[in-house]
């Protein structure tokens, strides 16, 4: 049995209370949400927080809410809740596509949106999903509330702009009626992190690509996205040749490492295949909505 180092435990009563405790306890305190990343790391003693502040009681952070043309997801929303949500699957198919292949039901029942984003694993599927959706992240702390773009949210592997005394409270993105999306992932085995994954979001106006996002996971893409490929697609006719070229660009602009999931050349190849498939899937999803 792997056992963690000695640790204190407190339970936050509200978001303000969590922030107050973080402020009081300092940077050696860590928030625990689903705990499916933090607790295994503690058991391996790779993480040794002095105190855990449990935010599982903060029910007001668990929501999926339409707010005009903005969809808001509370930080404590569980993966399984995203996967089961009718609203989410109507608005952004990319989310259930990804959630269906995130870890396993046990992790999804407990793991949260905020936890996944703050853990900031380089292979985190939701990071690629929210990159493709151009999402905004709400962060609260002793200095108030700020809303930042997912672009620039990650400052490196396992590292984000959320300060030690802050708490991520919400992820939101702009929806539109004809927004199509899809997510494609290749893994060695169900439940494993991606070898490579790609998500795409697309909306057409008068046949031209009016909105596009391409998210990439596990392949070292800056901000988890293929921004050059996105720029290339914007405003053009959605043709197979165009998608082919965008997929090649995405493959060129990511920066995968070789590891036991595969050599970097294979991962680059996958990015091209999966980007292409995601763009096709997103376009088809969008056309289904337009009809």
């Amino acid at each position: 049995m792997q056992v963690p180092a000695p640790v204190e435990y407190e339970r936050a009563l509200s978001v303000d209370d969590a922030i107050e405790r973080l402020t009081r306890l300092g940077p050696e305190a860590r928030l625990v949400a689903g705990g499916h990343s933090l607790l295994p790391m503690m058991k391996l003693r790779l993480a040794r927080p002095e105190c855990l502040i449990d935010i599982n009681g903060l029910a007001d952070l668990s929501f999926i809410r339409r707010d005009g043309n903005v969809l808001r997801i509370g930080a404590m929303t569980r993966h399984s809740e995203l996967l089961a949500s009718q609203v989410i699957s109507e608005v952004a198919k990319i989310i259930p596509d990804a959630e269906a292949v995130i870890a396993d039901p046990i992790v999804r029942n407990r793991g949260t949106v905020g936890g996944s984003m703050c853990q900031a694993d380089p292979a985190e599927d939701l990071s690629a999903v929210f990159a493709a959706l151009d999402a905004m992240v709400e962060i609260r702390g002793p200095r108030g509330t700020r809303v930042v773009s997912v672009n620039g949210f990650h400052t490196g592997p396992y590292s984000t702009v959320v300060e030690p005394d802050e708490i991520l409270t919400e992820v939101s993105f702009v929806t539109q009626k004809n927004l199509g999306s899809a997510y494609e992932k290749v893994e060695r085995r169900v439940g494993d992190w991606a070898i490579a994954a790609a998500g795409a979001v697309i909306a057409l106006q008068d046949g031209k690509i009016q909105r596009v996002g391409i998210g990439l996971a596990a392949v070292g893409a800056p901000d988890f996205r293929a921004s050059r490929a996105e720029a290339y697609l914007l405003g053009k006719d959605a043709t197979p040749d165009l998608f082919d070229e965008a997929a090649r660009m995405a493959s060129a602009e990511c920066n995968p490492n070789s590891d036991q999931r595969g050599p970097s050349a294979y991962k680059r190849h996958l990015v091209e295949v999966l980007t292409r498939r995601a763009l096709d899937g997103a376009l088809s999803n969008s056309k289904g909505k337009a009809n």
Binding site: M1, Q2, R188, R189, D192, Q260, R261, Y266
Partner: protein, 792 residues
């Protein structure tokens, strides 16, 4: 199979639910980690972070000062007890705690005993070890290079990493066959290092009673009697003061055959503290330090005539044994039964050579459902036959049919000296092809190929070699591989069966009751099976190599027959007739020709314990025992067919179908047989597609957690399609052959053959396991990589 097909309570053989599941399914099993003895302390092992390093000093003073620590043990302390090194199972020694050097990442360096598990773990961090890091030997192919670091400088005069050379077969005859053959195909292949990964990791609770000096060891062992004797021999402890108990065990697969340093440390900890000590390893410790399996680099060659008659086979093996030679196999067999590698085919000559080397990796190579390396042997021959089919442009089923041993050739003596007991091979292959719809599948494949889709069909035909083994050939550290059984019928006709073998989930409590039931007619539910406790069972070597049914099962059958023989005498006394005037009808003796007059086993049992006057010289009661020395091994076999689809763009493999026809002789309980086959097939899919322990250039273990060492889930497994043929063993009292490892042995080549078949349009001839998406893609690019090293 649905449970509705199960008989509620068959007499003897038949499909019935497992008796032990009542407790397992309710979470009421009693495993080593469930034990909590009064005053029990907890141990934790400090392990080496390096693959190869000299220990300059160890400072345990801070750990000793921890308020909850009761003892800190180092190699230096063990040396004073003469326990720093213990004999391995293969004429080598193994370090319990490192004294001079650490030789693999995860090796045991120190042991802390504390009042609770958390404190023991905390105190490990207070131990300061000063290491001088040495260059490691990671690549087995470089282990014998002139400039390779010498790992085993503890062995006097050792100047290289060589362990042994061993060969079998007729080299000259084989060379001649190859020289004259129309076709010779060569193929190098690696059966990579994998791990048994049982659900329950290894552990022990040891208690040396300070008053009566009796040492009780509850441990995760597949061989409690062998362990007891080895503890007695190694530590000089009196064997009658030793009791080894193997309680419920959560999977073994060979992982729990050997004696691990942790068991010895729990014992030493208890002797030093005079209290019970529990040691239970965690998942990473299990994956990093306990017995691996395989790690055979094989150079195979097959010779054939132009029309596809296989003539000869040879293989040269480089065997990576890790830092200590600790493989568990019969003494005279340093490569296990690998030399049964000619498989199921009729050929003229064969030769194999095996060279064992040391590397800076965990020792072991015990088993993992391998029947003493029959797994490697079957993989080699089944891949070579497929390679030959590829070169001949011949259907692999047709090639196999042409070369399989024919029923009239049994008993068959193989070119390397094995005597196969019985077999009807073509019938099994034909049945598997019929279940699969083989010819239709080939048509579908042709249509798919025309559209650029990748579909593969893989066949494997295996002959297993189990039930080790005859004492004249086989022993482990001098202990003969015979097994015992005692059957005792109580006065009311219920019975208890005591076994020397031990169950790790195979269902012995059901199947051994069924064996005794088959012979005596006593219902299985009236028969209690006792196993796993050396104080309460007869001596024997334990459960591995699929040996329980062929060896102990035979002992149980013979002991039960002796009970029936005695019951006949008792019945004759009760019925006042001559024993030969009685007729046996399962469960009762009747007067010949008159079924209305007779005695049931229950009546006879009461008579045997009662006042019936027995003939002169016949003792009362109804008990018998047997020690069974098998006259030969048994040779179960099977024909497997796997169908895969490969995504040409992502290179991901999906196993669409798997057809498994097994012949293990008569089936004691078909449901349990099917369950064992299902498990073995999943194992095979895992090894073929995802399981591997690779090492990076520093000797870091790259498969040290279930995030990195992938085992298959139900989603990677198709719905298994099983079939059976029945060819009894002529020498087992009930014709039984054993089945535990058949599917693990037989399935990996079927999956690999299927994937390689799917990739034929790309000209792929071979790629080593595991066939992960990356490896398949690399193979499609013409450059499969070495799966035992870090991916570059």
């Amino acid at each position: 199979m649905t449970t509705t097909e199960n008989q509620a309570n068959p007499i003897g053989f038949g499909r019935m639910l497992r008796k032990e599941d009542a407790r397992f399914l309710r979470g009421k099993g009693n495993y080593v980690d469930d034990l909590n003895l009064p005053g029990m302390l907890h141990g934790a092992v400090l392990r080496s972070p390096y693959a190869h390093a000299r220990i300059k000093s160890i400072d345990i003073s801070a750990a000793q000062a921890h308020p909850k620590v009761k003892a800190v043990i180092t190699g230096e302390i063990l040396e004073t007890l003469n326990l720093a090194w213990i004999p391995s199972l293969s004429h080598d020694v193994v370090a319990v705690l490192a004294t001079d050097k650490v030789r693999f990442q995860g090796q045991e360096v120190a042991f802390v005993v504390a009042e609770d598990r958390y404190s023991a773990r905390d105190a490990l961090e207070l131990i300061e070890v000063d290491y001088e890091v040495l260059p490691p030997v990671v690549d087995a192919k470089k282990a014998l290079d002139k400039d390779a670091p010498v790992i085993r400088d503890d062995i006097a005069g050792k100047v290289d990493n060589f362990i042994f050379d061993w060969e079998s077969g007729d080299k000259a005859a084989t060379d001649e066959v190859f020289a004259n053959a129309a076709i010779v195909v060569n193929q190098d292949m690696l059966y990579p290092r994998v791990h048994p990964a049982p659900m329950e990791t290894c552990g022990a609770v040891a208690y040396m009673d300070p008053i009566d000096q009796k040492l009780t060891i509850y441990s995760t062992t597949q061989a409690p009697h062998a362990h007891r004797t080895l503890y007695a021999l190694v530590a000089g402890l009196p064997e009658h003061k030793l009791r080894v108990v193997s309680p419920d065990i959560g999977g073994g697969f060979g992982n729990k055959v050997g004696i691990y340093p942790g068991y010895v440390l729990a014992i030493v900890g208890s002797i030093l503290t005079k209290r019970p000590v529990k040691w239970m390893e965690d998942r990473s410790e299990n994956l990093m330090s306990t017995s691996f399996a395989r790690d055979y680099h094989m150079k195979g060659s097959i010779a054939a005539s132009a029309d596809g008659k296989i003539l000869g086979l040879r293989v040269d093996v480089l065997a990576d044994h890790g830092a200590f030679n600790n493989t568990a196999q019969p003494t005279k067999f340093p490569a296990g039964f690998f030399h049964v590698f000619t498989g199921s085919y009729d050929l003229m000559a064969a030769h194999c050579s095996v060279r064992g080397v040391y590397t800076n990796k965990a020792p072991g190579g015990v088993a993992y459902a391998c029947s003493f390396r029959v797994t490697e042997a079957v993989y080699l021959v089944e891949r070579m036959v497929d390679r030959l089919a590829q070169e001949l442009k011949m259907d692999p089923a047709e090639l196999r049919m042409k070369n399989l041993l024919r029923p009239e050739q049994f008993p068959y003596t193989s070119p390397t000296g094995w005597e196969y007991d019985s077999g009807e091979y073509p019938r099994a292959l034909r049945l598997a092809m019929d279940i699969a719809g083989y010819e239709e599948l080939r048509k579908e494949q042709a249509q798919k190929r025309a559209k650029g889709e990748l579909m593969g069909i893989g066949i494997s035909f295996f002959t297993e070699t189990v039930g080790a083994g005859p004492k004249r050939h086989m022993d482990i550290l001098g202990l003969g591989m015979a097994d015992g059984c005692e059957v005792r019928v109580h006065p009311t006709g219920k019975a208890v069966v005591r076994l020397s073998v031990q169950s790790q989930g195979q269902g012995h409590e059901t199947t051994f009751a069924q064996i005794v039931s088959e012979v005596t007619g006593i219902p299985p539910e009236d028969i209690d099976v006792v196993h796993g406790d050396t104080d309460n069972t007869p001596f024997g070597l334990g459960t591995y190599g699929s040996r329980s049914t062929p060896v102990s099962g035979a002992a149980a059958a013979i002991a039960a027959r002796r009970v029936v023989d005695k019951a006949r005498i008792v019945a004759s006394a009760m019925l006042e007739c001559a024993p030969e005037d009685l007729e046996w009808e399962k469960g009762r003796f009747n007067i010949k020709g008159d079924k209305s007059v007779g005695k049931t086993m229950a009546e006879i049992a009461l008579g045997a314990h009662g006042t019936v006057e027995l003939p002169e010289g016949v003792e009362g009661h109804l008990n018998a025992e047997c020690v069974y020395d098998p006259p030969n091994l048994t040779y179960p076999f099977g024909a497997y067919i796997c169908v895969v689809d490969v995504d040409p763009a992502t290179a991901k493999v999906s196993v669409r179908r798997f057809i498994a026809v097994d012949d293990c002789g008569p089936r004691i309980n078909p449901m349990i047989v099917e369950g064992q086959v299902h498990g073995g097939l999943a194992d095979g899919v895992g090894m073929a597609l995802m399981e591997v322990i690779a090492f990076d250039e520093d000797g870091n273990n790259l498969g040290a957690s279930f995030m990195d060492y992938l085992i298959p889930t139900s989603l990677e497994c198709p719905s298994w399609e099983t079939g059976a043929t029945v060819t009894p063993s002529p020498h087992h009292p009930l014709g039984l052959k054993g089945v535990g490892e058949s599917a693990t042995v037989g399935s990996p080549p079927a999956v690999v053959n299927a994937v390689i078949d799917a990739l034929a349009p790309y000209g792929v001839k071979h790629a080593d396991m595991p066939l992960t998406p990356a490896q398949v893609w690399q193979a499609m690019q013409g450059a499969p990589y070495r799966t035992d090293l870090a991916i570059q």
